[in-house]
Subunit: 478 residues, 2 copies
């Protein structure tokens, strides 16, 4: 057995379970022996290892034996100083990394198209975010990455920022090489925190995009459950930094995660790392070939097309396949048709369907292919889908008020045209294109107002902006 | 089928799984079809329902269909306005309820023997805690509840407190009726937050202690996983308040919990409620009888005794059985002997072993009984265990500095005798008796110093207090 085939945490749990222990401890299902008849067959087997911090089974928040070993094997594989197992998803990792480096009223440079847990973390800590606008990918029609130049401009304007928080890849698997950006930030002593939720499998190397760790990032959070065979809520936080205090990271991880962490989730992180580490070059080649075939097959269907970024700096994750409508139907409508045939995809947006391919061969490739074709059989090719034009012109860098200072300030409504220079009291996300135009606390510019007016007139629906019908925005009274 | 036999969330998941869906979505294990050979047999079955927010499967953070229904059935059973399913343990419920009612520099009255997530929450929010010392139970030798008089004294001194945070029952199942305390707090407009982590099954009624909900508490957190057949990290937060803003609770629940909540954990909360609601009077009587037999059997073993509170206001949870050493061996040592025979208990302290009995009949009562007797066969009766005397004399109410004001203050060491009136910069927990003597931020009194000196001289080990060997404490420079 090679070192990366070892699964010390799972093995210890299995060993404990096979010793036929008697439970006078939590959880209340007592190794699955106490349960409802309904559901028993589904749960029973896994509940054998749904235990608590018994002798020999270590403690996530103070690991010394089997959890420490499992985390060490992960750190070795991912090439970092330390890997922490997370049981409350990347949400808990994002919160912990922000709290470990940020303080109230400190400026933090943040990529605008980030996960809500990043915004929640910044609000909670009372930071003062500086938002960098992402590039807009014309082909895939979604926000992608932040350019080196935008980051450079921002860091030069705010060299005292507490951190640079990036999201790479985006939801659609579009990734860039962060090496130069990280170097730049480090030359200012600014730590780089990367939400790499969708890239846990990038450690496999080419043809997958370069990992944030390989690019030199300080803290990296990965949702193991998204692309690896791990249970939902299982994530990794990789620590690889001279700039960040490891003790603070540890402290906040125990704050934001259950004091009774789930052993089945933790053990699945141990197993998922072992799965990943033992995929051979040949396995990966076979998967790549199958995905190429799959895309070819999709391309044969007239009412859709596989959309790929042609931006030379973007590498797209193989496992993420974006399919664009070439019909009068929206992505949402095509999604419904697929679901009727039992094909469930990751998400739809007005233009696209996003497929997440398994990190394995499909066991029933022919059947699945047939189902997809069948599901879309009645949809006519119609180039009108291209008629909806999209614009996304925001200033590359925009400033927000300190979240700390906004707490408990009163709010009022103002008309859109009078909002320039005021501070937004609501978040505004237009669909399409689904990228936040305004965050709470953001200082409203002329460009914001123009873009909101344009999207409103061209029929976008807005999340937030409850007064937009009356041409008004909610702002803080400062 | 009666209403409480319904399990809408589990049923929807099962229905989805049986429809043989094809997954092009997260999680990466694709309904368990992608997995390591190791572990596959344990995980496979449950992973069929480890899914994501697909059509028809609702969304924990914005529930409208099957999760909303499952939460409504729970609210009906528990007799509250609203029940929220928690997937990150009672930790996330405690954090959310504190954030929903507290703000920085606001005073919060807190029972001293509380879970660390309560302290973490108060620190994070920057509150100013006022600690109430619990009673010390002479028989069981642990901290138990806070008296009505202590709460009254405290509320009269701090009538503007943002909340009263209680823990009931304690870890050992000792509970009190909170009705009068809640009435008192409400007469001052103070909401009552109860960490009832160990009492999820109290809704069964007598002989179990009265629930915090029945006593009128505003927010109540219960670890379903501790005593019900739910997966670890599955908890409930009950909302039943005129004083607390429900929207704030919801907001902070989505902050502190994964945006990809685990469906197996959520569905187990649905099933656990159904299990609890459908236990008959007869079932409960049978379990009570079996527990009485079990205690009788333990009582026959000379080197131990079943310890029970004789305090007239305390009702002890049937499922928690505290066994005290009557030998020269500590609780820890007896625990090791039991583990050698495969008997795993919840915890040991210097004097006690804590058993958590199943909320069901033991399938192998005779065998288990025999194992326990056999495990302890060589231990001699020795009354010397009573020689360790215990004192726990702290002022009933003690004040802390605002956590907000302490952030980033420098620390220094002072000798114990000069610490009076200074502000503790470290937490100090002596074992025995395992109750925090000092919290970070607490103003050090003469009684603290006397108690620390006494315990130190009588051989207690301390968690925290790294300079105590040199007779020093770490304090803030203010």
């Amino acid at each position: 057995m090679n070192r990366q085939q070892r699964t010390p945490l799972y093995t210890a749990l299995k060993h404990h379970s096979l010793s036929n222990p008697v439970s006078f401890h939590v959880p209340g299902h007592k190794y699955g022996t106490v349960f409802t008849d309904t559901g028993e067959e589904d749960y029973k087997r896994l509940l054998h290892i749904d235990v608590t911090e018994l002798s020999g089974l270590d403690d996530l928040h103070q690991p010394e034996s089997v959890i420490a070993e499992a985390q060490m094997l992960a750190a070795e594989f991912f090439g970092v100083e330390k890997t922490f197992f997370l049981v409350n998803g990347s949400t808990s990792g994002n919160l912990a990394m922000i709290f470990a480096v940020c303080e109230e009223n400190r400026k933090v440079i943040v990529q605008r198209n980030c996960h809500k847990s990043i915004i929640n973390g910044l609000q909670l800590v009372g930071a003062e975010p500086i938002f960098i606008s992402p590039q807009f990918d014309g082909n895939v029609r979604v926000a992608s990455y932040v350019s080196y130049d935008a980051v450079k401009e921002t860091i030069e304007r705010y060299p005292d920022a507490a951190a640079l928080v990036l999201t790479n890849p985006n939801y659609y698997g579009m990734a860039v090489d962060l090496t130069e950006i990280v170097k730049l930030a480090h030359s200012y002593g600014i730590p780089v925190l990367v939400d790499e939720a969708h890239g846990a499998h990038f450690a496999l190397g080419a043809p997958f995009p370069k990992t944030a760790v390989a690019c030199g990032a300080d803290l990296v959070v990965q949702s193991a459950h998204k692309t690896l065979p791990a249970m939902t809520m299982g994530s990794y936080l990789h620590f690889n930094s001279q700039l960040v205090d490891e003790e603070k990271v540890k402290y906040f991880l125990q704050v934001f995660q259950s004091s009774s962490p789930s052993y089945p989730i933790m053990a699945s992180l141990d197993l998922a790392r072992s799965y990943l580490a033992n995929l051979s070059r040949e396995d990966i080649n076979k998967i790549s070939e199958e995905i190429a075939n799959f895309k070819g097959l999709l391309q044969e269907i007239e009412c859709i097309t596989v959309a790929e970024s042609t931006d030379p700096v973007v590498t797209t994750d193989l496992l993420k396949i974006t399919v664009q409508t070439r019909s009068a139907l929206s992505g949402y409508q095509l999604q419904s048709l697929l679901e009727k045939e039992g094909i469930f995809i990751e998400l739809a947006d007005p233009f696209n369907l996003l497929f997440v391919y398994p990190l394995a061969l499909l066991k029933n490739f022919a059947e699945v292919s047939k189902k997809i074709k069948y599901a879309l059989r009645g949809v006519q090719y119609d180039p009108s889908y291209m008629n909806i034009s999209l614009s996304y012109a925001l200033p590359p860098v925009s400033q927000s008020y300190s979240y700390k200072k906004l707490k408990n300030l009163p709010k009022k409504a103002v008309s859109l045209e009078n909002a320039e220079g005021l501070v937004a009291a609501e978040m505004l996300i237009p669909y399409p294109p689904g990228i936040p135009i305004l965050f709470i606390g953001e200082i409203i510019t002329k460009e914001h107002i123009e873009l909101i007016t344009y999207l409103k007139n061209s029929g976008s629906r807005f999340q937030g902006g409850k007064l937009l019908t009356f041409h008004q925005l909610e702002v803080f009274e400062i």
